[in-house]
Each structure stands twice: as structure tokens, then as C-alpha cells.
């Protein structure tokens, strides 16, 4: 190693040092601490603080509320990400090649994505109002209780989430579509490809990469979603919109069981990492095969 290289390494570490120290204290240390906490009985209100071993996890394995939350999380994630993907691509395809209203539509999409989720929740809460909500009025004077009916609450939360996050998929797909040279479409036309064939053979393969990334990001976000359901429904009615994150939060700060709540948080953490890992493996395998 030359002197210059050694100096560069030292300089690099020096520049990284403040960041590494910050992340060590604010991310790595809490990440390890939460694992430890999840093995404790820790109820500050009653001064309880003792080792619990794996008993919180053992309890969760037979806890119907936990499994209901896990099911809700899975349903929410699959429905929300699936709809965002399909509708986002449709919107992106519509925007490309559209002149009038394109800039306005694009800005509105961005705004919906950039607003606080709590604002979205408040906005939809009002749209869903049984008596004066715009949705019921537009549906011809229905009096559906969107957020109060156990059968409708989860779909209502999914709809609000799709509205808020579809723009992310749409913007990514739109940017990719703008980068596709028109010659490709002309060539497909010359070859006699119809509209559908052009879409499945030209557009979709070119969008594949960016959509895979969008799905990964959105899936990880959906698995840890909290703000929207916490404000819209608080997990209700009858627990039908209680996701794992909401359950963990209730365990931590409403039941004030820091150990138990942390165990649910660790499950969410493990789930997110597992999905990310499985997804990246799948992606690699797909690349190797292609």
C-alpha cells in the first residue's frame, strides 16, 4: 500500500466517523436493545422488570389477536401493493403521450405522495363520513358506514393507502417510459404487433426492473405502515384493521408492556428483513436465469 493510499483510507474513515458514531448510537444500539427488551417482563407502571426468556414469543404463537393482526398485515400489504402496481402503471401509461392536463395530473400525484399520512387519514375520514361524506354522496346517497363496518373498514384503509402511494409507482414507471425510444414502438408496429402484443412484449419487459424495485419499496412500507390506520380507525372496528405495527404500538404504549410490545416489534422487524432478503434472492435468481 502506498503512502497516498493509506492516507486516503484514513481520510475516508475520518469522514465516515461521525456518521458511524451516530448510527451506532441511534440505530444499531437500539436494534440490539429491542431484542434484549423483548426477552424481559418490563412494565414500568408497576415497577416490573425481570427476565422473561422467550415467553413473550411463546405467548404470541398462541395469541389469536397476534394472528389476526398478522393476517390483516398480509391482506393489507398484498391488496395495497397489488392495486398500486396495476393502477400506477395504468396511470403512467396514460400520462405518457398525453399533452393536456399532464403537468397538473403529475403535480397532484406528487402532492398526494408528499403529504403527511396523517393529513391523508383526516382527508379520507371526512370523505368516508356516513352522513356527509362525499363518497356516499357521489355513490348516489348511500349511507354506508365505511370506517365503522367490519367488512368495509379494511378495504377503506386500503383505498386510502392506494391513493397515497400509487403516485410512487406511477412516477417511477412514468420516468422509465419516457426513456423508451419511440423507434422501439415503431419497429413493433412494422412487425405487425398489436396494441396488446406491444404492451406485453415491449413495454412491460422494459418496465420490469423499475417495477420490481417499486414493489420491494412499497411492500416494505406496507408491512410497517402505521399512521394511516392508527388515525383512520385506530385498528378498529372489532380489530379488523389492526396490523402488527398497531398491535405492537398498543402493547408498548397503551398496555404499557414494554417487553411484550417490543417482542411484536421484533416480529415486524424480522418480517421486513425476511421479505427484503427473499426478494433480493429472487431478483438475483431471475437475473441469473435471464
Amino acid at each position: 500500500m502506498t503512502r497516498r493510499e493509506r492516507a486516503d483510507r484514513r481520510r475516508g474513515l475520518l469522514l465516515m466517523a461521525p456518521t458511524l458514531a451516530t448510527l451506532a448510537v441511534l440505530t444499531v444500539y437500539p436494534g440490539a436493545w429491542v431484542l434484549w427488551l423483548s426477552l424481559q417482563y418490563r412494565v414500568p407502571a408497576f415497577g416490573v422488570d425481570r427476565f422473561a426468556g422467550a415467553s413473550h414469543y411463546a405467548f404470541l404463537a398462541g395469541d389469536p389477536r397476534f394472528w389476526s393482526a398478522a393476517r390483516t398485515t398480509a391482506l393489507f400489504t398484498v391488496a395495497s401493493v397489488g392495486l398500486e402496481l396495476v393502477l400506477g402503471v395504468a396511470v403512467a401509461l396514460a400520462l405518457v403521450g398525453q399533452r393536456r392536463g399532464r403537468h397538473l395530473a403529475f403535480s397532484l400525484l406528487l402532492l398526494a405522495w408528499a403529504m403527511p399520512a396523517v393529513v391523508t387519514a383526516r382527508l379520507f375520514e371526512w370523505l368516508y363520513h356516513p352522513a356527509a361524506g362525499l363518497l356516499n354522496v357521489l355513490l348516489g346517497g348511500l349511507d354506508l358506514n365505511w370506517l365503522g363496518d367490519p367488512a368495509l373498514a379494511l378495504p377503506a384503509v386500503v383505498l386510502a393507502d392506494v391513493w397515497r402511494t400509487l403516485p410512487f409507482v406511477a412516477v417511477l414507471a412514468y420516468a422509465r417510459l419516457l426513456g423508451i425510444p419511440t423507434e422501439l414502438y415503431e419497429a413493433a408496429q412494422v412487425d405487425g404487433a398489436g396494441r396488446l402484443a406491444t404492451f406485453t412484449r415491449v413495454t412491460l419487459p422494459l418496465l420490469r426492473g423499475v417495477l420490481l424495485i417499486a414493489v420491494l419499496f412499497r411492500t416494505l412500507d406496507a408491512l410497517r405502515a402505521f399512521d394511516l390506520m392508527f388515525v383512520l380507525t385506530g385498528g378498529g372496528p372489532a380489530g379488523t384493521t389492526e396490523t402488527l405495527t398497531v398491535y405492537a404500538y398498543r402493547g408498548l404504549f397503551q398496555m404499557l408492556q414494554l417487553g411484550f410490545g417490543s417482542a411484536v416489534g421484533v416480529v415486524v422487524f424480522a418480517l421486513v428483513m425476511l421479505v427484503a432478503w427473499a426478494y433480493l434472492r429472487l431478483l438475483r435468481a431471475g437475473e441469473a436465469a435471464a
Binding site: R9, L23, L26, T27, A114, M115, V118, V119, L172, V210
Partner: protein, 272 residues
């Protein structure tokens, strides 16, 4: 016009309506007289009033919360950029030992669920006596904004050819001068993109803000909006007005700085 053209027009129109209608409805609600709020149809109010804004600005926590949010998001952005800029440069340009592992760790920590670190951070803030302070939120938000900023900026630095800095060095500029006069100006739009995303993250963040705050001393806008009080019934008009105020910075960013926002959004997602 072709069939596809008509379909496309209809789709764009539908998308426009789906996004414009909720915004306009909320704006309209914030300007409607109280008595007409629950009487729909008719959809349009007989007159417009600023009463709800007056109530929100004079009698609620929202003005204080706006100030808290502005302070917390501003300081979070500043600290994430100050820490992240040198780190991103080092990761992009210098032979840092364990570079790829560090990058992987940084990406992984952007995917970290907040619910997993909220309980240890809560205990930490309590032990340090930081509950209900800006500091607690700036620290917690920086732990998430920093990896994001590094990830974005490292990509932006890599897009700038190192030859530019090297040729400046050949011309007798010191490394510091080359960074200051060559790299930094070229990196400025990237810094703006990363800063905007960090700001928006902090402005919008709810879980930490809800957990670590207790009073107007530190409650941010999303928390104040989620806890917006109603005495006998839900004050929909006031809530709509408060929502409008809470959306103000995102609106200004989308309208005025859209280019940087989109660049950041795309770079974050499409890199490697």
C-alpha cells in the same frame, strides 16, 4: 382520434378527478360555514368563510405545532446533510475499508421499521431527560434521514467524473479547493434533492413524534392534527383548515421545487 387515444384521455381524466376531488373537497370544507358542513347535498356552500382558519390559528395548538415541525424538520435536514455529505463522499471516492458492507448496512437501515426501535429510543430519551423536546425528535429523525441522504448523495457523487477533481489538482488546487470549487457546485442539485426528501420525511413522520412528545413544547403538526380536539362533536371544518396548513410545505415543494423532488425520488429507487 384513435380508440387508444380516447381511452388514454379517459384514464388521465379519471386520475385527475381522483386526485383533484379530495383536495378540492378538503379546501372547500375548510372554507364552508359550520352550519352547512353536514348538509350535503348541495355540495357547494352558499358563502365562503375564513372562520375555521381563524379558530385553528387563534385557539388551537396548530401554530405552535407548525413552528415545532419547521424547527425539527429543518434541524433534521441540516444534521443529516452535515453528517451525510462527508460520509457519502468517502463512500463514493475513497478506499474506505469494508465499503460494500457499510453501503449494505446503510441501505438496510433505511428499511428498518420504526416500530422496532421506538421502545429503546423511548427509554433512551427518557433516561436522558429529552422527552418532549425538539432534540429527541431531531435525533430520532436523523437516524432515519441520514442513511437515506447518504445513499442518495453517494449516487450523485458517483455521477460526477472524478477526472474533474483530478485535473483541478493537476492545476495546483489543493484537495479541499477541488472539493469546494469543483465538486460541491456540481453536487448542489443533488444536495437539494436529498435535503428535500429528508425534510419531507421529518415533516411527515408520526410514530416517533407521537411517542416522544407530550405537550405543545414539541408536538409536531401530524401529532397535533391526529389529536385535534373536539368538545361535543368532531370539528370537521377546523380539521380541514388544519390539514390545509399542515400540507403547506409539501405543496410549496411540489409546486416550486418539483424538479429536485422528482430527481431524489427516482435516484432513491433506481440506483443499483
Amino acid at each position: 382520434m384513435s380508440r387508444g387515444g380516447r381511452l388514454r384521455d379517459a384514464l388521465v381524466l379519471a386520475a385527475l378527478a381522483a386526485y383533484a376531488v379530495p383536495f378540492v373537497w378538503q379546501l372547500l370544507t375548510s372554507l364552508k360555514p359550520e352550519a352547512e358542513l353536514l348538509r350535503v347535498p348541495p355540495l357547494l356552500p352558499t358563502r365562503l368563510t375564513l372562520d375555521h382558519y381563524r379558530v385553528v390559528l387563534e385557539q388551537s395548538l396548530i401554530p405552535r405545532a407548525l413552528l415545532n415541525s419547521l424547527g425539527v424538520a429543518g434541524l433534521t435536514t441540516l444534521s443529516a446533510l452535515l453528517l451525510g455529505l462527508p460520509a457519502a463522499y468517502a463512500l463514493a471516492r475513497l478506499p474506505v475499508p469494508g465499503r460494500s458492507a457499510l453501503l449494505l448496512g446503510i441501505v438496510a437501515s433505511t428499511a428498518f421499521p420504526q416500530i422496532a426501535t421506538v421502545s429503546p429510543l423511548y427509554l433512551m430519551m427518557r433516561a436522558l431527560g429529552l422527552r418532549d423536546t425538539w432534540t429527541a425528535l431531531v435525533l430520532a429523525h436523523t437516524s432515519f434521514a441520514l442513511p437515506l441522504v447518504i445513499w442518495l448523495l453517494a449516487g450523485f457523487v458517483r455521477e460526477i467524473p472524478p477526472a474533474l477533481e483530478e485535473s483541478a489538482a493537476v492545476d495546483g488546487a489543493s484537495r479541499g479547493q477541488a472539493l469546494r470549487f469543483i465538486l460541491l457546485p456540481l453536487l448542489a442539485p443533488g444536495v437539494a434533492s436529498a435535503g428535500l426528501l429528508a425534510f419531507l420525511f421529518s415533516w411527515n413522520e408520526f410514530l416517533f413524534a407521537y411517542t416522544f412528545t407530550a405537550t405543545g413544547a414539541s408536538r409536531t403538526v401530524p401529532v397535533a392534527l391526529a389529536l385535534f380536539p373536539g368538545v361535543f362533536e368532531v370539528p370537521w371544518g377546523d380539521i380541514a383548515a388544519a390539514s390545509m396548513l399542515a400540507s403547506l410545505p409539501p405543496v410549496l415543494i411540489v409546486v416550486g421545487l418539483q424538479r429536485y423532488l422528482v430527481r431524489g425520488l427516482l435516484a432513491g429507487a433506481v440506483k443499483d
